[in-house]
Symmetry: none
Subunit: 249 residues, 2 copies
DNA sequence: GAGTGGTCTAGACCACTAC
DNA sequence: TAGTGGTCTAGACCACTCG
């Protein structure tokens, strides 16, 4: 193997990392195509003048990233591109839709301050009857109703938020830009329901139609709940795609 | 560090794997609690009489699994339990239920060979009309119906599988032990449906009740489809829990 | 400065795949 | 049988954290 790039042994960047980056670039540039066989580890080691262990560490990270496939006794191969990237991302409806090529919009149905009932207080870890900002929106993709979302945020975190206009903006965007609040993690539960008359009317489907419901708690970096959202998405237009691996990797 | 268990150097099981398993068991048994510091790598290496590289490989896999946390200059620590491993893990219904503390069982409704229709042929990447093994089961938790699953496997991969008894066994178990086939990845789509009369009767719920449907393709290490499964799980008893992170972690 | 994990070497032998 | 990746050793030195 000709050493296309050369590793800098005096660099503070680890050799395995430099090597991994080089290989990554060659794969992403299409120079190494899916199912192409890489040179043997021993050959790579010789070409770049590093030990086999270093080559293995670089390749190991590419394997973890799903870009490369090792087959004992045969060799190392460039993997077929994956259907979807690993763990599910925490994004907004707006972002998610635009990534799928749809124009996302929303209609604000309610913007108010309510007192936390017992369930909301528990979910958001605030005292019962605490004031919460409530935002209910009809979410649309390409102008067609996709689902209903109702978000609750402890009012003390977002003083004055009632003045905000949410027509063109995402809730996460406003939390970020006006209050410097961004979730570090979210826990989301999905389950199946049938829509009631009000939901059916708003979504333009028949009452009793199936829908995917979700409850989500988004947490701040310290672990404090930032937001609790209930949503009901049309069963005929919305689905969840998951990529699974054995043993959590 | 006292060597609680001892590694068998003559075993065909790699030393790093034995060591990883030992540590895993001590964590899962609660002997090592969250935030406990593990002994230094050098000490573990000495205690079990292996090299530091072997210890690092064992610990590295525990880090990947999220069970352990390495902090440079400080040490290695037992991680806080994750909120949920969620369905990001590829497991069988049997395993999943037993992990949640339920007794899983199943009733085989159909075991046959069918010809692939166009959709099945595409999903399993086999020629149209190829013979497929078809297994339809009613899945129960603690004796109560939870859902229906129909799996399809290309017959050429599992010659003679019709003779197998699936009453007490998982499909994945049989594929593994009798054919040496284990999925490396799966892609699963979930959506909401309402059950039809047959499904309702089998599940013991009213027709028109909501249910969580899923379609899953499990892939072999090389990327060849091993299995396609359609399932319908009771909406009142089944939900999906997801842990989300910004920007894919 | 002492102790930790992070990187790296130069070898060795084994297990598996292909011909 | 030859070639591949898989495991393992016994060292070495570095980078980082903490008292």
């Amino acid at each position: 193997m000709r050493a296309e790039g050369v590793l800098d042994k005096r660099s503070p960047i680890p050799l395995y990392f430099q090597l991994k980056t080089l290989l990554l670039e060659r794969i992403q540039a299409g120079e190494l195509k899916p199912n192409d066989q890489l040179p043997p580890e021993s050959e790579i080691a010789a070409a770049y003048d590093v030990s086999k262990a270093t080559v293995r560490q670089a390749l190991g990270e590419l394997v973890s990233a799903g870009l490369v496939l090792r087959v004992q006794g045969r060799g190392t191969f460039v993997a077929e591109p994956r259907v979807e990237q690993g763990p599910r991302e925490l994004t907004s409806f707006t972002l998610e839709m635009s990534k799928r090529g749809h124009a996302a919009s929303s209609r604000v149905l309610d913007k108010s301050v309510v007192a936390a009932d017992d369930e909301l207080a528990e979910r958001l870890n605030v005292p019962a009857a605490s004031p919460l900002f409530r935002l209910e929106r009809l979410r649309l993709a390409d102008g067609e109703p996709m689902g209903l979302q109702t978000a609750f945020v402890p009012l003390e975190l977002v003083d004055g938020i009632l003045e905000q206009d949410f027509t063109g903006k995402s809730l996460y965007g406003v939390l970020q830009t006006h209050y410097g609040l961004a979730p570090a993690q979210a826990i989301e539960r999905h389950f199946a329901v049938v829509v009631n008359a009000r939901q059916a009317a708003l979504l333009g489907i028949a009452a009793g139609s199936p829908a995917l419901a979700a409850e989500r708690v988004a947490l701040l970096p310290g672990g404090r709940p930032l937001e609790f959202t209930r949503s009901v998405m049309r069963g005929d237009r919305y689905s969840i795609l998951l990529e699974l691996f054995p043993n959590g990797r």
